[in-house]
Amino acid sequence: MKAAIQIAITIYGIAAVISLLVAVLIKALFVTLRRFSR
């Protein structure tokens, strides 16, 4: 049970980091494309 909780927290942590990374990527991509298209 304790191991399962630790795994769940770790997986959520990884998911949070990856989601943040994707959001940053989207923002960066959006800003870059806007700058180049000017």
């Binding site: 399962a4 795994i7 997986i11 990884i14 998911a15 989601s19 994707v22 959006f30 494309l33 806007r34």
Partner: protein, 434 residues
């Protein structure tokens, strides 16, 4: 005519009478449930595209049980995954040889031996569709491709951080259900598959359970698809319970619409697909399918769009419903684990909804009370049902309050975060359980 018995002619009834009372009532119950699903699909209470073929499949497979002839029965028994108990396996083989094995001519879902498969494909009605499109998760990819064509990622590009944050909050059920399932006696692989019901994303549940817990994938997938319909019916009550009317009707300040071009959306599809496939190769088929759909839409490939959002998506949905129904044989569904799965499935979806609304409240406070907390529930990736539910609940209090663009952004991100969690589960769990 000597030795002929009228019940030999109507073997569906004979096999019903000769089965144990549990199996008999199970079969009758599932036939009635199949009829109920068709009715609820027709009335629009549950998703008709899935429920009508699923209900009919469920009726047919539970009514159409016969005593298989010895050759067919031997092929089915020997072509299936061997029963873990050697005594039961020997008994099955003896029954098959004597022609006393009850079964159906629809499908043998756990077939493993390729030589037996060729024989089975000639007799089992849906076996080719199951073997080539279902057992390997291809049908999930087809549906994901169809979803990709329907998605407008412009809503995500306009508000990436808010959308991603809300979507991540809605994975609360997917995460918390995992240790609960382990505490109830499931192993890590099974627990991860059940927990995915919380993502409210059918193809993800199918993909995860096929990858991690093949023995339980039938009940888990059936539970997931049954409950997806409940998102539309149940979440409004959860919203009304957790968000007071004053906040539900909150009008969000009008922001200038950010126009996102199709070139930008296409660039997002290419970069997003590359990065996510690089991070999670195990879930790469899902990411590719989703982003191929998005790319086809944004590149304006009209002929491909016509194929993907027409025959491919609806064909896959119809066969998915039919196969899920046919897989609901009494012997599979009467597994005692199924009852626990039903409870865990509803817990997972409930917690995801609660998590989404907590995320909505956090967004509300961090934005200086400008964001309507109801949009939180739209992060549950049941596209576009949860976004519609959120807008409907807000409109019922303040008819001119519009939250749909933000809700759709969170909704689409919900699909992406569900795919991310799937990728993590199918990568991490096998490493831990090695």
């Amino acid at each position: 005519m000597q030795g002929f018995h009228i019940l030999d002619l109507f073997q569906g009834i004979t096999s019903l009478i000769e089965a144990s009372p549990l199996v008999m009532f199970g079969r009758i119950g599932l036939i009635l449930l199949g009829g109920l699903l068709v009715y609820m699909g027709k009335k629009g209470i549950l998703e008709p595209l899935l429920m009508i073929p699923m209900g009919l499949g469920m009726i047919a497979v539970n009514a159409g049980v016969l005593f298989l002839d010895p050759v067919t029965a031997t092929h089915i028994v020997s072509g299936s995954a061997p029963h873990p108990d050697p005594a039961v396996a020997a008994e099955l083989a003896a029954q098959a040889a004597a022609g006393q094995t009850p079964g159906t001519l629809f499908m043998a879902p756990l077939v493993e031996k390729a030589d037996s498969l060729i024989y089975l494909m000639q007799i089992d009605f849906l076996q080719p569709v199951y073997t080539f499109a279902f057992s390997n998760g291809l049908i999930a990819c087809f549906i994901f491709m169809g979803i990709g064509v329907l998605l407008d990622v412009g809503f995500v590009l306009a508000r990436p951080f808010l959308s991603m944050f809300l979507a991540l909050s809605c994975e609360f059920g997917t995460i918390v259900t995992f240790p609960i399932a382990v505490a109830l006696g499931f192993d890590f692989r099974e627990a991860a598959s059940i927990a995915m019901v919380g993502s409210a994303d059918g193809p993800m549940v199918l993909f995860t359970s096929l990858t991690l817990a093949k023995d339980l994938f039938v009940p888990i997938t059936v539970v997931a698809y049954l409950y997806l319909g409940l998102c539309y019916g149940g979440y409004p009550y959860l919203i009304r319970l957790l968000v007071p009317a004053k906040l539900r009707g909150l009008k969000m300040p009008a922001k200038a619409t950010i126009k996102v071009t199709s070139d930008e959306k296409l660039a997002f599809a290419v970069v997003g697909c590359t990065v996510l496939c690089l991070l999670f190769p195990s879930a790469a088929p899902l990411f590719l399918s989703l982003f191929v759909g998005v790319a086809v839409r944004e590149a304006g490939l009209k002929y491909f769009m016509a194929v993907i959002d027409g025959p491919l998506l609806y064909g896959a949905t119809m066969f998915l419903g039919l196969l899920l129904g046919v897989l609901c044989e009494a012997s599979t569904i009467l597994d005692p684990k199924v009852l626990i799965l039903l409870v865990l499935g509803i817990i997972a979806l409930l917690l995801s909804g609660v998590g989404g609304l907590i995320g909505g409240y956090m967004a509300y406070f961090f934005s200086g009370r400008k964001i309507n907390p109801v949009i939180g529930i739209a992060g549950v990736s049941c596209v576009p049902s949860t976004a519609k539910v959120a807008q409907k609940e807000v409109s019922s209090v303040t008819p001119d309050a519009i939250i749909l663009p933000e809700a759709l952004g969170a909704n689409i991100c919900g699909v992406i975060t569900s795919a991310i969690i799937t990728g993590i589960y199918v990568t991490v769990i096998p490493l831990i359980t090695k």
